[in-house]
Symmetry: C2
Subunit: 219 residues, 2 copies
Amino acid sequence: MNSLVEENYLKALFNLSIESGQVNVNDLSQRLDIKMPTVTSMMKKLAGKGLVHYESYKPLRLTEQGKIEAALIIRKHRLTEMFLVEKMGFGWEQVHDIAEQIEHIHSDLFFAKMDELLGFPKSDPHGSPIPDRNGNVTWKEFKKLSDCKAGDRVRLEAVINTSEEFLKFLNNRALSLGLEVLVVSVEPFDRSMVVKYAKRTAETLSHTVCERLLVVEKA
Amino acid sequence: MNSLVEENYLKALFNLSIESGQVNVNDLSQRLDIKMPTVTSMMKKLAGKGLVHYESYKPLRLTEQGKIEAALIIRKHRLTEMFLVEKMGFGWEQVHDIAEQIEHIHSDLFFAKMDELLGFPKSDPHGSPIPDRNGNVTWKEFKKLSDCKAGDRVRLEAVINTSEEFLKFLNNRALSLGLEVLVVSVEPFDRSMVVKYAKRTAETLSHTVCERLLVVEKA
DNA sequence: TTATTTTGTTTTACTTCTCTAACTTTATAC
DNA sequence: GTATAAAGTTAGAGAAGTAAAACAAAATAA
Ligand SMILES: [Mn+2]
Ligand SMILES: [Mn+2]
Ligand SMILES: [Mn+2]
Ligand SMILES: [Mn+2]
């Protein structure tokens, strides 16, 4: 049984691996706000438990078992976020910090029940995939809105940044998952976009924002 | 901010005070399955935080502030149990261990939302009162079923023991809160009772069981 | 009332998780 | 290709929470 602290290291390492490929001690240190020597010793400990491949001065890698255990924590996190939004009436900007705690609850039954009540959802309120009970994750092919061109019709499927500020920004513009968006124009100078969706006929979004919005093309 | 460990000490001390009046280091030690020297040092620590009155060799007492903080953890525990039963479909025998963990979640909003979704319940699935947001608890006047006599008509309002085994025993006999029970007879030899309720016309309950069932008299 | 048992405390020590300081290795700049 | 900077490790230490051993006080029994 992994401790809460070990679980947070596993999860952070898993997420960083997906975000940036190669993960160094320094990356994990910054992500967790824990000093490098502490991270080094925890990596050795997790290596001893067979969850991490550790070699001095080399990038950090989860073992297959480590990936599974990390994915199962992420599963609990994302099921929780979905439950909070769908069954308890929270906004998608309010759920991360609560899920960060509830993901450490030890009760298979509790999460199985959540899953069932939610109808076995495939993704969380931010569009991230929910790993299955075996820790397998299936990633959908998304495109960044910033990679679209004028005239493209797309559907908003996920957000990359899930900070409260960013999600509130999207709330203020009535941007939510599932929405159909038409790219009206792209400004070559700063790559900002003018888009049309729902009742908004001409909303301007900066490149910084568009990079964080994941979409699929509407046939 | 109290740690999870401190919270469990406060809660145990609060509960023991109610159950048995005077609480000694040894009682708390047994309740928490933690050795006496550890309890002594935690009591000194909590005394330092103004939550416990500690004097060597004297019974342990919570301060007023300690009582409030303990009651607020118990509030979270009981709201959680109620939520699990009412909103997630758990049985009353399944919820204690999950609540034991969720009671340590730090999020006022999370518990406020639970409370609201439940319609501000006054008691948990076992009939125990839910403290209010200020840590005030109001105890109803209950009577033990074992103190009733033949011919009494009562309503089952709470259970004292909330172990899974006891609650399953009650489930097997279709005994649940709110049920109206008629005391048919009391056996003088072992103080067992024959009772009548719902579709059960002659169920025999041992004194040990009757002592743990709290009732109010049906007018 | 004295002996014995139980309860409680003190001291020492272990585990987990964290840090700072000092040093080493690797990467980057010139 | 050295010099400098950045990243990583080692060593030492501290806080939180725990227990074992030794001792002291209080309760109980004889
Ligand atoms: Mn999240
Ligand atoms: Mn977490
Ligand atoms: Mn309970
Ligand atoms: Mn608890």
